[in-house]
Symmetry: C2
Subunit: 116 residues, 2 copies
DNA sequence: CGCCTCCTGCAACCTTTGGTTGCGCATGAG
DNA sequence: CTCATGCGCAACCAAAGGTTGCAGGAGGCG
């Protein structure tokens, strides 16, 4: 018990997916299979350079991998690492959910004792 | 299908729980029931002022509520709003998970056709 | 009451990070 | 060969997380 998920979190991974722009980039890469800084920037409200920086962050976090292809550099999601990230999300969510439920149970118990 | 969960996300809520210090604060508040800026700062690696700022952010996001009690101000978690945040976490996680599974299915299908 | 202590709030400042513009360079297309 | 397209690097800006320092209000106690 007492898996304090929020303390086990890989902060690099979490902060990588914590940014809204990076989340949308991951979404796009998942949907389209792959993409370049330029192609992603076209469907995002930021410049190509901003996207490139984010790709660097995601790359260092291991969430994407880029391979040079001629004059462009195509990035694609690393499935395993994204799966790890998803696991951390649900881990934190489950921990909080469990604590909320516990609090609710206690509150109900108190109500019961007061009604006696 | 194609529910692009990452776009439905309430960015204020998400960015509130995106910060590691704020996540640990929520954890502490959940475990201990309530707390003040000073009491939280004692078990966190940051100063009281930093904690106070974070409490401000969490308050504006609706995740905590603070009530003055004499010379101190006690904060406690808003269960409903945290439940909403948990829902968003699992929503994004589920969306990515679904896409990962879909990719895996497609990959397997391709393998099968190639084996034929 | 008067003093002292503790907790809070406000302000100035530093550093990191997400974002921009501008430029130079390489590589594929005509 | 020439041109344009895509990339990387550098300078710069604003917002956010964090720190120190200081002034003020509520409680405890002689």
């Amino acid at each position: 018990m007492s898996a304090p998920a929020a303390e086990d979190v890989d902060d690099d991974l979490w902060s990588a997916i914590g940014d809204p722009t990076r989340r949308r980039m991951l979404d796009l890469l998942l949907v389209e299979g792959d993409g370049t800084a330029t192609s992603l920037a076209q469907r995002l409200p930021v410049t190509r350079q901003a996207v490139a920086k984010h790709l660097g962050v995601l790359d260092r976090a291991g969430l994407v991998r880029g391979t040079p292809a001629g004059r462009e550099k195509r990035y694609r999601v690393d499935d395993a690492q994204l799966a790890r990230a998803v696991a951390q999300l649900s881990s934190v969510g489950a921990a909080w959910d469990a604590r909320l439920r516990r609090i609710k149970r206690i509150a109900e118990a108190i109500q019961r004792t007061q009604q006696d």
